[in-house]
Subunit: 148 residues, 2 copies
DNA sequence: AAAGAAGTAACTATTGAAATTACAACGGAT
DNA sequence: ATCCGTTGTAATTTCAATAGTTACTTCTTT
């Protein structure tokens, strides 16, 4: 099991917007070319980011603008926007354990706390990284590239 | 995206073995009934746990025995055994970003550290919980049930 | 009104999970 | 040595999600 590439694509999108947004018009065609995929894939992800309130997308003219400071958009926000999971749980319980078995009727309750803690550990780490960090990191890499 | 139910099923299996192993012969049929699935599903998961060196499975007679003390089998061991992920990464990068785009050719390097840290946070939390914890928790729940 | 771009429906291909049937391989009990 | 219960595993089916593509509609600026 792997987390969908929508997550890394969304981060790639933000990085392009941050880096090129002032200079070029960043359209779904432009992004599709940088990411090497189909423009419709990009538009669908843009739609998810828009519905989550992270960006505005201009129709007609094109162009993407974050709705709040980059330091206030975390990797967790992006993850939640593009990878909604069923009933909010990262883990998948087998549906109907046997209620006549002592283990079967109690395993769910027993595991819940622990699985929640594991999921929370991942999500908390995701909250540590922001689009601002991403932007700075990319600027620094590109500056180094240009100096060689 | 959700982590496969094989993980929670494997934990359920361990819990049954710990709870009933001395009393009954815990077969794939027995487990399938407690978990409410097909015996072949169970056997495939047993095969993964066996290949990972966590249990021995007796053919012919049936019966499952952990290969080491329950306190030395963590949730992480179980997770790795039943949910092998491609190239070890929880995250899925889009394959071929455009090398002519400054963002495209650098995004992978920029994200790697951060994604690794997120994955590690999850795995480290998984390492905190052992099959021994699971066993004790289940004993305690069943004892409470019996006292009412 | 025209042009450019996003939004979106419809379809296909591919993959993985889960379930099921069938049978071969094994091992203890008689 | 054979029988029987059990595991190991291959083959098949169903279902859902991802990813990609085409085609068309909707919107906005010029």
């Amino acid at each position: 099991m792997q987390i969908s590439s929508r997550f890394t694509i969304a981060l790639h999108i933000f990085s392009c917007v941050d880096t090129f947004g002032d200079e070029y018009k960043v359209t779904s065609d432009f992004l599709a070319s940088s990411i090497n995929t189909n423009p419709v894939i990009i538009r669908r992800i843009l739609g998810q980011l828009r519905k989550a309130g992270l960006i505005n997308v201009a129709r007609g003219t094109g162009g993407i603008t974050p709705t709040r400071p980059l330091s206030e958009i975390t990797f967790y926000d992006v993850y939640k926007a593009v990878d909604p999971i069923e009933r909010g749980s990262l883990f998948h319980f087998h549906e109907n354990p046997n209620p006549e078995c002592p283990v079967g009727r109690n395993i769910h309750n027993l595991l819940n706390d622990k699985l929640d803690a594991i999921q929370k550990a991942m999500e908390d780490e995701m909250r540590k990284y922001t689009i601002e960090d991403l932007h700075e990191g990319m600027e620094s890499i590109i500056a180094k590239e240009e100096s060689t």
